[in-house]
């Protein structure tokens, strides 16, 4: 048979493409649930690592099924807020129905361009409140979770992740525990611009809302700094007021003690 014939070529390629597309669609639909379960467990690990439910190493040594249980045991409530800071939805927290907002790109766009945002807030039984941040690193997106103490302005812990930052440089935001640990005990100055500073030599200023950027990872640090500030600004209306009152309360207590 003449395999160089035009009609044969067109029909042949058409059949190959349809067959391949069929196989891929079938496999994607079969494996989809397992992949989503893995992705969900990963998100829960990062959140609980930030909230300090257990140490990061312990959390990463725990299997998926136990991670769901651990979350269900420790979560108080989870809900979403709009850009006005008002609650606009509830997220499921029982083990069989854990709902998360883990696609940040549309939310990030809503924050920047205005629109209908559903920004998640996770409140743990320990009183810690976890919110996500998302932005652009050097090679791809960077994101993470910031856990606040019940006062809503002291950072309790963080966890950052990235898609493809340079190993040994930008990837340190995820790989290096010392970088994460630096954030614990720092504060976010709601309403200030910037609310938080991840910059070169920022710690030297002695400010409570400053952490030094990573040497050799200028662009990743810059991207993470922007991610933190853009998302903090979006959460300001929700977190800021409560933080203001708890700050007043703390000062009042301190004043009484003096």
């Amino acid at each position: 048979m003449n395999t160089n014939n035009n009609i044969y070529t067109v029909v042949y390629t058409a059949i190959i493409v349809v067959v391949v597309a069929g196989i891929l669609a079938f496999v994607a639909s079969k494996l989809g649930p397992a992949q989503q379960a893995n992705a969900k467990a990963e998100t829960l690990r990062q959140m609980m690592s930030a909230a300090g439910i257990k140490s990061t190493d312990e959390i990463y040594a725990t299997r998926n099924a136990d991670i769901l249980q651990l979350y269900a045991d420790n979560i108080q409530e989870a809900y979403t807020i709009g850009l006005d800071g008002e609650k606009n939805g509830e997220l499921g927290i029982t083990k069989d129905n854990i709902q998360l907002v883990d696609r940040f790109k549309p939310q990030d766009r809503a924050i920047k361009d205005g629109g209908n945002a559903t920004l998640p807030v996770y409140v743990f039984k320990s009183g810690k409140i976890v919110i996500p941040v998302y932005g652009a690193g050097l090679w791809g997106p960077v994101w993470g979770y910031v856990a606040f103490e019940a006062d809503r302005y002291t950072i309790a812990g963080v966890y950052f992740d990235h898609e493809g930052e340079t190993p040994g440089l930008g990837a340190k935001i995820k790989d290096e525990p010392w970088f994460r640990e630096k954030f614990a005990g720092k504060t976010v100055e709601w309403g200030d611009t910037p609310a938080f500073r991840l910059e070169k030599n920022a710690e030297a200023s002695g400010a409570a809302n400053a952490v030094d950027a990573i040497t050799g990872a200028t662009m990743t640090s810059k991207g993470l700094n922007e991610a933190l500030n853009v998302w903090f600004a979006a959460y300001e209306k929700h977190m800021g007021n409560a933080a203001f009152f708890s700050m007043l309360e703390n000062h009042a207590i301190n004043a009484e003690e003096d």
Binding site: N4, N5, T13, V27, Q35, G164, P167
Partner: protein, 201 residues
């Protein structure tokens, strides 16, 4: 060539990395840890073996003018399948995440297309499958050797377990890709001084 020769050729005399110098980019990128290198090596072996097999079965019917496109479609399908499977298994999910784009980039790995063009389109299915798998092993072998040294001296660990004494300071030169090039250079040097036939006059 017998099946045994077909299998041994890519491991030593015709090694895709040290002799043909193909697949260098990925061998620099994924050899920071042994886990990553192992998963990458297995993925390439599966893709290379199966794409050789499938295209050898199709070889008589493929229209010559769209030959490369048909090969690409088959290879891309296999790579996506491997990626999807890695993502759906609990143990390999974090490794797939760490390898990020490099699994997808197997599509552009010269070894895969090179073996299809050079071998599978002119050979029967069984030898093609053997050739594809053997090239994957030859590639994986070098990957694991490089990753062994990079993880040991870079991070002080092997397969994520601490082996260097506590307090070992991680070596950034070894962690960054250029060191893989130096290591591959050393492997090529050793290989050629052992096998004199490979030396150019």
């Amino acid at each position: 060539m017998t099946l045994k020769e077909t299998f041994l050729q890519p491991l030593f005399k015709g090694n895709p990395i040290t002799v043909l110098v193909l697949g260098i980019c990925s061998s620099l990128a994924v050899t920071v840890t042994l886990k990553g290198a192992l998963v990458m090596a297995l993925s390439v072996t599966v893709v290379c073996g199966l794409s050789n097999l499938v295209l050898s079965l199709l070889r008589k019917g493929i229209p010559n003018r769209v030959r490369i496109i048909v090969q690409l479609v088959v290879v891309a399908m296999l790579v996506i399948l491997v990626d999807q499977i890695l993502k759906s298994i609990e143990v390999t999910f974090p490794i797939d995440k760490q390898l990020s784009v490099y699994i997808g980039l197997i599509i552009t790995n010269c070894i895969v297309m090179g073996r299809i063009e050079a071998f599978a389109l002119g050979s029967k299915p069984l030898p093609s499958l053997v050739d594809g798998l053997a090239n994957g092993f030859g590639y994986g072998m070098i990957l694991l050797i490089v990753a062994f040294f990079r993880e040991l001296f870079g991070s002080g660990t092997l397969f994520g377990l601490q082996v260097m004494p506590a307090g070992y300071i991680t070596n950034n030169l070894v962690i960054l890709p250029p060191f893989a090039l130096i290591l591959i250079g050393c492997i090529i040097w050793v290989h050629r001084s052992v096998d004199k036939e490979l030396q150019e006059k």
